[in-house]
């Protein structure tokens, strides 16, 4: 009897505690303090997380004491789908999702679905410094603030004359069994870039732009040839066809000379070289046709209650101070045009800068992931 009584009390306290605990947190945040907190969602590898947390946000908050930036970061984009669903659902209900600004690959996707606020020079003056074609690609609803592209990394200790074309690369792979691999396209953009490069090569030229701007699943039949070429590479891939998970895993294989060549992100590999995580013998080059690349965007979510502060933040990302962080700390291409960029940018990236194919539409990309898993990996 005593025990039962104690348990009833225990349950009661738990329930009451739960009800009380949740309540007071929300009003405190909304209290009329001079500081406004805006929430930023982004995803990617740890290099970008490091950029926000240790450089961008501290500097921005120092220059704007009344605005705090709360970062929600999802490594490798594990939460992209959840966050996108949440924003779409909130917009359908004309409510705010709790996220003010989004980055990552869902930003262009959201722009395409008109879930973001339009960016105009009136509210974001620095937007005039970016290439108009980058803005047009996202309905003028997101701002490119940094860029990168997929490039070919090779170990110059073993590879004296790297291939210059895609055909040359395919030939190299077959003549050097086990010395090439790329990560699964669903686990990172560098592998996806290579898969897209091969598939794109066999797509009729007139269809190519459609993959970048529209979504017509019927066109996916043109991928067949490219996918079968990728499948034919399997016996020549590292360990008879092992595709690692994630961009970093490929860089690690390059670093310990398990493989001699691989597609990598320009910014990540440059950083890795700088930090001596890749030996100096690893060099970067670009193929003809170039592998894909382009800007990373941020956009302001519709119904955000902090539009004024959001605009200040996004505008700030295009200032010289922020662009210097992009170039110096994550070795990204500048988001602004080169004439507005830190002068160092051009000399760091040399031959690989600015030379890339546009990214595909997000829905085509996910379909390509699925088709690759079914035909190449299986």
């Amino acid at each position: 009897m005593m025990r039962r009584k104690a348990m009833v009390w225990g349950a009661g306290i738990l329930i009451a505690g739960g009800a009380l605990g949740v309540g007071p947190i929300l009003p405190v945040m909304a209290a009329s303090q001079p500081v406004t907190t805006i929430t930023l969602y982004d995803s990617g590898d740890v290099n970008i997380e490091n950029m926000w947390q240790n450089y961008m946000i501290p500097l921005f908050e120092k220059e704007h004491p009344t605005i705090k930036v709360h970062l929600i970061y999802s490594t490798s984009g594990a939460s992209n789908t959840d966050i996108y669903d949440r924003i779409a659902a909130a917009e359908a209900a004309h409510k705010n999702s709790g996220i003010d600004i989004i980055g990552s690959s869902i930003a262009p996707e959201a722009a395409e679905a008109h879930l973001l606020e339009p960016v105009s020079p009136k509210v974001i003056p620095n937007v005039t410094k970016v290439s108009p074609s980058f803005l047009k690609a996202v309905n003028d609803e997101a701002v490119p603030y940094r860029g990168s592209s997929v490039v070919l990394a090779y170990n110059s200790e073993f590879v004296k004359s790297p291939p210059k074309t895609l055909m040359g690369l395919l030939h190299w792979i077959k003549t050097h069994p086990g010395k090439f691999t790329y990560n699964t396209p669903s686990s990172g953009g560098s592998g996806a870039g290579f898969v897209q490069e091969v598939v794109n090569y066999y797509v009729p030229k007139k269809d190519e732009p459609i993959f970048e701007t529209e979504y017509k699943p019927a066109l996916e039949s043109t991928w067949k040839k490219g996918l079968s070429v990728l499948k034919s590479l399997t016996p020549y891939i590292y360990r008879d066809g092992f595709y690692p998970n994630g961009n970093v895993a490929v860089l690690q294989l390059l670093a310990n000379s398990s493989i001699w060549m691989a597609p990598v992100w320009s910014d990540m590999s440059t950083s890795y070289k700088k930090e001596h995580l890749l030996p100096p013998s690893i060099k970067l080059t670009q193929l003809t046709p170039p592998m894909n690349g382009g800007p990373a965007y941020v956009g302001i979510v519709k119904n955000s209650p902090h539009l004024k502060q959001d605009n200040i933040f996004v505008n700030w990302l295009l200032t010289p101070a922020a662009q210097t962080i992009v170039v110096n700390e994550v070795d990204g291409y500048p988001g602004v045009e080169y004439k507005y960029a830190p002068p160092k940018a051009k000399q760091v990236f040399g031959s690989i800068a600015g030379d890339s194919s546009p990214y595909w539409d997000a829905q085509f990309s996910t379909d390509l992931n699925a088709k690759w898993q079914a035909t190449v990996a299986g």
């Binding site: 594990a78 992209n80 669903d85 669903s186 360990r239 595709y243 398990s258 079914a374």
Partner: protein, 296 residues
């Protein structure tokens, strides 16, 4: 003591409500979504998903049929079942060997063993998986050891299904040994001594006396380990091959990388059905045990 039924109801209603809202309802929604229902609470996810099967009236099994028609998915299901069965069998054999040793030996080795076998319990699965990948990979510890012993060209077991089995066994052993040895401790010495007195060999008394009395812990190990491995994600994601994938990994891939939540939920339902199949064994064993003890 006077019964107050509302007290019990009140006490159980909290957990019940939590169960219904956070577990029951999502299961119903997921099953409905996988059968083509995109209305109500499924509307938000359906608004952004790709390649959905939608029915206006009634339900359809098309999502399941399409998945089954996909050779990759059939291979994934096969791989999942293979890993589960093999890993559970290996866990059971090793766990029994260790538990029996601990039950009948009280020397120094047994003391050391009884401390060592618990170690995997305190190492997070992610960390353990990474360590095992490096340990078993080409160029890793095992490779180096074999090279020293004169055997070249060890292929490495990381990124293979065998590697997944090894990691699963490593992670699941502590619980199995813990369960089995506590069960074995409960078998009275007097019974074993009595059977030895009438001339049965040690092995025979194990098989005829000890094992039958240890059925329930065995079934618990079998089912809990089985369900755990069936739905595992971290180990096969880090240790497994690109294809075939275990269902936990495939489900996540469909959900995140392919933006096909409907197919992902259908795979989840499938995993749930398989796990329920294992669950039936557990319930059956419990009923049997209760009946033997006269509680029905």
């Amino acid at each position: 003591m006077r019964q107050k039924p509302w007290v019990g109801l009140l006490m159980s209603s909290g957990p019940m409500i939590v169960m219904i809202v956070f577990i029951g309802l999502p299961i119903v929604l997921a099953v409905a979504y996988s059968l083509g229902d995109v209305l109500g609470l499924n509307r938000a996810i359906a608004a952004v998903a790709q390649h959905q099967v939608i029915v206006k009236h009634g339900l359809t099994l098309k999502v399941y049929r399409d998945l089954w028609a996909n050779a990759g998915i059939r291979a994934d299901i096969g791989a999942t079942l293979w890993v589960t069965v093999v890993a559970v069998a290996v866990v059971l054999v090793i766990a029994y060997a260790v538990s029996l040793y601990l039950r009948f030996n009280h020397n120094r080795l047994a003391k050391v063993l009884s401390a060592i076998y618990l170690i995997p319990l305190f190492i997070p699965v992610v960390i353990a998986s990474y360590a095992l990948v490096t340990f078993w990979n080409a160029g890793g510890f095992v490779d180096a050891l074999m090279a020293h012993l004169g055997s070249q060209g060890f292929p490495g077991l990381s990124y293979t299904l065998t590697g997944v089995v090894i990691a699963q066994v490593w992670v699941n052993l502590p619980f199995a040994i813990l369960m089995l040895s506590s069960g074995l401790t409960a078998v009275p010495d007097s019974l074993i001594e009595a059977s030895r007195d009438v001339g049965s060999t040690f092995l025979r008394s194990i098989v005829r006396i000890v094992l039958p009395l240890n059925i329930l812990p065995t079934v618990i190990v079998l089912t809990f380990t089985g369900i755990g491995i069936l739905g595992s994600f971290t180990i096969p994601y880090l240790m497994g091959p690109t294809a075939p994938q275990m269902l936990g990994v495939a489900t996540t891939t469909y959900y995140q990388a392919f933006n096909e939540p409907q197919q992902a939920q259908a795979l989840a339902v499938l995993t749930f059905v398989l796990a329920a199949g294992i669950g039936v064994i557990y319930v059956w064993a419990n009923v049997q045990a209760n009946r033997r003890e006269g509680i029905s």
